[in-house]
Amino acid sequence: MRRFDTAKLAVSVFVASEAVFFGFLIAAYIYYAYFGATGPGPTAGNSLNPPRTLFFTICLIASSGTLWMAERKLAGSERKEFRLWLAGTIFLGAVFIAGQAMEYAGLISGRVTPERNLFGATFFTLTGFHGFHVLCGLVALTIFLILTFVRGFGQKEVSGIGAVAIYWHFVDVVWIVIFSLVYLTVWL
């Protein structure tokens, strides 16, 4: 007797455990940024570029929208449109990662590193693990895009795409929290 889609249920539980993981990293960031002392050196205020990151943030949020569109096309069996929206999602996610890579390169060349002070340590830990999750999502989405050409649209593929979508939206939500906490507060 099956009650729920296995893949979607499994990924939902997985996402719950990931939420706890990010919760602890976010708590560490808040603790050192607002309750402890990050020590002299770089801070969010003097090293980050919120307007630029806002652009990449919009890309990531938009990618959730395009993935949602892709899922709707899939439900309506519009295969070509589905592939286009999915490819768009992958493109937007890749733009976000490229933005993060640029940001990291700039910071590191400006000697903002994990060993400098606690801002560096918490910033790279938090955004680094998030970026790693985006990367994993991109790999998964790309695999599914390829699978639709190789294997077509079986029940397994459809439920798998639904499961990856849950993960992708989650990673997106985590970024909204991180962006608000790390970047937007600079403008306060």
């Binding site: 007797m1 009650r3 249920l9 455990s17 602890f24 560490a28 603790y31 050192y32 060993e115 606690l118």
Partner: protein, 519 residues
Amino acid sequence: MDHKRIGILYLSTTLVFFCIGGIEALLMRIQLAWPDNHFLSPDAYDQVFTMHGTTMVFLVVVPLLLGLANYLTPLMIGARDMALPRLNAFSYWVSLFGGILLYFSFIDGHAPDAGWFSYTPLSEKGFSTRNGLDYWALALLGIGVGTVATAINLIVTIINLRTEGLTIRRLPLFVWMVLVNSFLIIAALPALNASLVMLLIDRQLSAHFFLNLGGGSPILWQHYFWAFGHPEVYIMVLPAFGIISEVVPVFSRKPIFGYGFVAGSTVAIALLSLGVWAHHMFAVGLGHAWDYAFGASSLLIAVPTGVKIFNWIATMWGGSIQFTTSMLFALAFLFSFTIGGLSGVTFATFPIDWQTTDTYYVVAHMHYVLFGGTLFAVMAGVYYWFPKITGRMLSERLGRVHFWLMFLGFHMTFFIQHFLGLDGMPRRVYTYPNLPGWGAMNLISTIGAFVMGISVLVLLANVWISLHSGEQAGDNPWNAWTLEWATSSPPPEHNFNRVPPVRSPRPLWDLAHPQGGRA
């Protein structure tokens, strides 16, 4: 990728690690047998106690319970396999890889030596300069990932693959506890993973999350570690409660007393366990408000736990009790776990904790909970389910020898440590001066440890003999009532030819009594 084979892999791997961890324990007891002993150097002693604790917690108790859950859950809910068989295999191998990585540290020259909870700053690069702690953190990350993956798998399996009619109120209590436990793993294990990556970033990228230098906070490590570590204590005992809730009714020939309370109190324990972590930190000086709050929440846990103890006793009350080896271990669990629970309550009273923390009183307490509690329950489960898993009975005669040696050896080793602790003997120190009574008490403790060591040899002999010439078990040697006994022993790869209908928590009893009636 069959869940039964993976379950057996888990169980046999943990048996190997159990023997390794046990030998480490014996090395410590030899060193402590008399005052001013120099059998082990202080440095070697630190490595041995760290490896003993880490091994027993992460490579024995947790995977032992996960292995049993892996083998039994699909059978008990009438399913063909776990919901995600490949993920299941991944969990096992990634955990085993973690275990091998941990022990590889010996080959690399130096095992971790900062205790199983690796308090910072001791575990930081400046104080532990060699690679042991890096192996420790990486090994635990592997095991942590594997444990979370298994929990996901168990949750999906139990939610999705129950057979027709097996509603949540008819679920075998072992499965109930496994389900609650899996949610607890999801809530707690990621805290360990987060702490470990921060520690690794400190050690490898020279950050200072947990170093005072530059504003880091060693106390944060304690908060994070115990936010995982205290739920972990319940992760290590809830499935054991489940085993007891299966074994006690069957050998009392009565249904469990207060099914709803046993299941519900488990949920209460799981929720409470998330809010008590700082009772490991009373000696830190968090302030009275925190001490009161965490003392009170810790005391509260005694309530649902007590409910369970009363339920099990009430189940036995008026039953026709069969004193099989399995039941003897279940009774030993009740006895020892209650003692461990009571000493636990004394810790929640934080002025007492200030006196007893980091003494042998703590060592005694946690071994009463983990060995006298969980391990005795697992032994009850091993004698109970071994016939199902292998198709052969374990010898009851050898079983009794094993039981009495282990029971007496256990209490001989650990009961006396309460007094050593109250007398002020600190834990984790490689030797002690010849204070009045300390030498004698430690010697008794060491002799007890060796009695336990012999009992494990008896168990191994029993398993060996049984596998070669044990009595055939048949489908249902104990006249038990849950679904795993409705198939052959060992079960075929597809588990069931036909799953019997489920109309109550005891489907096989219903099958034997089609007209209904009382137990």
